[in-house]
């Protein structure tokens, strides 16, 4: 390499350091010729640039990291969010709209959030979910929260992904202290604080899907609080529960038109040293939280399309409309969730008079539906018409296109079997009775349901009544079943409604 070789033809115009001094080939910026391995001397500027680059990369990266860590994340109102903010990391402050619900896969959970100017669904990963459960930070409806998330905005939907549990600040909603006798259906949907003495803790049998039942008594009366194994394991010293004085925060719901109290987290149960004292004082933060609640107009996500899809009656949806985007409104007849570990979609059957339509959507769509479809509820859905086994069906591609218009009517009061006649055919009835032996119908199971006044066949079709409702049923159990009165071979029968229509009472 003492002498530069003459450049190859066509390379004469290059600077000497661009060609190999040994073989004369063009080598560009490299310092060792890829053809012959000879060392290629470069001007100082290039060598200096190398180390300048290393310095720039490391120092710059360090400064950038400092900047990122020290920077205050901006607080943004949902109403001010623009599509150009897609992927932005922002802080939201406001109220939790719905309780956080775990995904079917158990790999995380989501909740709906509002700040008075808009609403958004917030996704939480499994790791974050576990940490939140451990620290009793699981959001519940009405709680005030402030958190940092990563925004995802598209034409018709918006969502957030929680970035850090460390920066998730939660102020629990004011839970009114209520005497047990004062708990009525008017409190449905609210969280309350109750206190009393545990008279009995009913533990569900192994392999059973029944919840724990905590019987509680105070000076005014008695109530039962239900919770599951996960909450039981969170309770500090659960063995001490029988006979203990406790204070707990519960959610009020209804089951079969009766009040039902559920414990959302085991950390919401406190074992007291003595009988509870009445205390309804609230912290200033809680008082502020109570006055903060506002109703927000829903955000308009119709950008990009001139108008929402055409609304048409179910009867107008035919195979000819394949590929068309349509909007329908009808009552939900049944909801079939996919089997665990299957690749099936959710299937909802909509019915309007004599016409029915199958609607399908995938789990990712279901996760974004604020009010899940339940039998009897009136829903509006928008999707693309497809043809499945020669019949039209609707494929919904966004959870925001599924909207509840009217909630399902409450289950009717139980009636005596003897009071049911042929005139009741097609009507929905609830019967409380004892199950006879199960009879296999191929695609369904039949039981003889007996009460003090008579007997009737209870039919559970596998396509509409989920396995987790059917499986625990056994001969001799007392159940409450809701369904439609039908007739087969001259005998009246009760065809169980889709979904959780049969409950074990005893």
């Amino acid at each position: 390499m003492t002498e530069n070789k003459q450049a190859l033809p066509g390379h004469e115009t290059q600077s000497s350091e661009m060609n190999c001094p040994s073989c004369g080939r063009f080598v560009g910026a490299v310092t060792k010729c890829p053809y012959c391995g000879a060392k290629v001397e470069k001007r100082m500027s290039l060598t200096a640039t190398r180390w300048a680059a290393v310095l720039l990369a490391t120092i710059g990266l360090f400064l950038l990291w400092l900047m990122a860590v020290k920077r205050d994340v901006p607080v943004v109102k949902l109403g001010d969010i623009q599509p150009t903010m897609n992927f932005a990391q922002i802080r939201l402050e406001g109220e939790v709209k719905t309780d956080a619900r775990p995904f079917r896969t158990g790999m995380g959970m989501s909740f709906h959030f509002t700040d008075g100017t808009g609403a958004v669904i917030v996704f939480i990963t499994k790791k974050q979910m576990d940490e939140m459960i451990e620290n009793n930070l699981t959001p519940k409806a009405g709680d005030q929260v402030s958190f940092i998330g990563s925004l995802n905005v598209s034409d018709d939907q918006m969502s957030m992904r929680l970035l850090s549990v460390k920066e998730f600040h939660l102020t629990r909603a004011v839970a009114e202290s209520v005497q047990l006798a004062d708990i009525t259906k008017k409190l449905k949907g609210s969280a309350i604080t109750i206190a009393g003495t545990v008279t009995k803790l009913e533990v569900p049998p192994e392999e059973s899907k029944r919840p724990y039942a905590l019987q509680l008594k105070d000076a005014s009366g008695e109530q039962v609080v239900n919770f599951w194994q996960a909450e039981y394991e969170q309770i500090e010293n659960p063995d001490a529960l029988p006979g203990a004085n406790v204070r707990l925060r519960v959610n009020v719901g209804t089951y079969r038109d009766k009040v039902q109290l559920t414990l959302g987290s085991g950390l919401d149960l406190e074992i007291l040293d003595g009988p509870p004292a009445t205390d309804d004082s609230r912290t200033p933060a809680q008082q502020a939280a109570e006055t903060y609640r506002k109703k927000a107009p829903p955000r308009d996500f119709s950008r990009g399309r001139a108008a929402t899809a055409e609304a048409i009656p179910l009867s107008d949806i035919t195979a000819d409309k394949k590929g068309h985007t349509v909007r329908v409104q009808a009552r939900v007849a049944s909801v079939t969730p996919p089997q665990p570990d299957s690749k099936q979609p959710f299937a909802v059957l909509l019915r309007d008079g004599d016409t029915s339509l199958r609607v399908t959507y995938w789990s990712n769509v279901d996760e974004r539906i604020a009010d899940k479809p339940v039998p009897g509820a009136l829903f509006e859905m928008e999707g693309v018409v497809d043809v499945f086994r020669d019949r039209p069906q609707l494929t919904v591609e966004s959870g925001y296109k599924v909207r509840q218009v009217e909630a399902a009517p409450a289950a009717p009061e139980p009636v005596a079997i003897a009071s049911i006649s042929a005139a009741d055919k097609g009507q929905i009835r609830t019967i409380e009775g004892t199950l006879g032996a199960a009879r296999d119908l191929g695609k369904g199971t039949a039981y003889t349901l007996t009460d003090d006044s008579g007997a009737i066949d209870l039919i559970l079709w596998h396509s509409t009544v989920p396995a987790d409702v059917r499986t625990p049923l056994a001969e001799g159990q007392t159940v409450a079943a809701t369904g439609t009165i039908g007739e087969y071979d001259g005998q009246l029968q009760l065809k169980a409604n889709a979904g959780p229509s049969v409950y074990i009472l005893r």
């Binding site: 910026a29 391995g37 990369a57 990291w65 990122a68 903010m85 974050q128």
Partner: protein, 444 residues
């Protein structure tokens, strides 16, 4: 005017506009689309609102034309994006031999072949098979990404150490490019964690969060190197025929479609990575197949990824173009799919026809002007674009990224390693331990 004519005019206008702009070095179609999205959103709700039937065909035409005509600056002006990585070295050889025009035209033929592949093969099969494939593969993406990363890092070969006495000096000589590659990957990954978790860019233009980093990693280092190394381009010759035949075309489509398909379908995997995997998988040695295959690969990567958003039953968002369009428009049903496929076909035809005159004009331009000056102008355009969209914070990010982007160029390792900016954080997030790492970094 009927929808048909509106769509035809829009796609033609978008294609012609982007065909001309594609000749500017360093200007990426996604940067321009970003600016247009801002404009469309600003007009939304006013009497000048732009309907989807106008901007959607125009966007399609822009992506198609850029995928084909970006070869001109990549080969003739030496400012490639990372997906043109492999075409640069063989392309530069063509340029240095005075055959730059032929090199660009061979790549363009690859793009045209890619268009035929998308319209005649991918489009009919995608709605039937891709939704099924997606259901099967979506739970496996994380380990696929890790395998790609492992292959990318391990397949880089030592470029020295084969001469001289044994010892640490020889060992270091062999390993220094590999070490530079791994360091580049890790530094880029660190930058990715910061930008994807706590981006310093204003939240108002967050959709361009990553743009300054990409510009710094790929475009600026190349311009800087052109300016510093001061290579002069020999006189270029045009030709009326190309040194390819049917066999070369078919083999190019085979390797390019595989590479582009992998890049378009798998998240974060870009055209360069897909091309590298396909190159190893198909083991094509012919330089012409290499260049043309990259033309096919680039077309399928950019256009195929955009098309996936419209596949009925799939609606997969892949690539910056699809993400930006998604902020404006949600595709539904077959009508939108046919619209996009039709636009791809029309735009590909127009783009290819524009390739030859534009390549000739560019050659005249570089024959007349100094290569250094062209690179300087390109650098100025890029910097102005970053400053305009993301401000001084974006400039700072671009500067840091430039430092990282210069490492592989100056140490002779693969520039693909810069893709650690997306590959590392996304693979970690998909595998469920991204939060742990951002926790260690104090970012969450």
């Amino acid at each position: 005017m009927s929808e048909f004519w509106i769509v035809l005019l829009s796609v033609s206008a978008g294609t012609v506009l982007m065909s001309v702009l594609s000749c500017l070095p360093g200007l990426h179609v996604y940067n321009l689309m970003g600016a247009l999205v801002l404009g469309i959103l600003a007009l939304d709700g006013t009497s000048f609102a732009i309907p989807a039937m106008v901007y959607l065909p125009a966007f399609t035409g822009m992506i198609v034309s850029w995928a084909i005509l970006n070869t001109i600056p990549a080969v003739l002006l030496g400012t490639p994006d990372e997906s043109a990585l492999f075409t640069v070295m063989p392309g530069q050889k063509y340029l240095m031999a005075g055959r730059g025009f032929e090199g660009t035209m061979i790549t363009a033929v690859g793009g045209l072949a890619g268009a035929f592949f998308i319209v005649c093969v991918m489009a009919p099969l995608a709605p039937r098979y891709l939704p099924v494939a997606q259901q099967v593969l979506k739970g496996h993406m994380h380990w696929v990404l890790w395998i790609i990363i492992t292959f990318m890092l391990m397949s880089e070969w030592p470029k020295g150490g084969n001469r001289g006495p044994a010892g640490w000096a020889k060992f270091f000589d062999a390993w220094k490019t590999l070490i530079a590659g791994v360091i580049t990957f890790l530094l880029a990954g660190l930058l990715g964690f910061i930008i994807l978790t706590r981006s310093p860019v204003s939240h108002v233009v967050a959709f361009q969060n990553i743009m300054p980093a990409f510009v710094g990693l790929f475009a600026i280092p190349w311009c800087l190197l052109n300016i510093i190394s001061a290579a002069s381009v020999p006189p270029q010759h045009t030709t009326t025929s190309l040194g390819i035949n049917g066999d070369v075309v078919l083999r190019s489509v085979w390797s390019g479609a595989l590479g582009g398909g992998i890049a378009a379908y798998f998240p974060i995997v870009t055209g360069g990575v897909g091309g590298m995997l396909a190159g190893h998988a198909t083991a094509q040695r012919d330089e012409r197949i290499f260049i043309m295959g990259q033309g096919v690969s680039k077309f399928i990567y950019y256009v195929g990824a955009f098309m996936l958003m419209f596949v009925p039953g799939l609606h997969l968002t892949r690539g910056g173009g699809a993400w930006m369009t998604k902020t404006l428009f949600t595709p539904l049903g077959w009508a939108d799919y046919y619209l996009v496929i039709g636009c791809i076909a029309i735009a590909a035809a127009i783009s290819y026809l524009m390739m030859e005159p534009l390549a000739k004009v560019t050659l005249k331009f570089i024959n007349r002007f100094n290569y250094r000056h062209v690179s300087s102008v390109a650098l100025a355009i890029i910097l102005l674009m970053v400053l305009g969209v993301t401000g001084w914070v974006g400039m700072f990010i671009a500067t840091v990224a430039t430092g990282i982007g210069l490492l592989p160029v100056l140490f002779g390792s693969r520039r693909l390693n810069c893709l650690g900016i997306l590959l590392l954080p996304i693979a970690c997030n998909m595998s469920g331990f991204g939060e742990t790492i951002t926790g260690w970094l104090g970012l969450t």
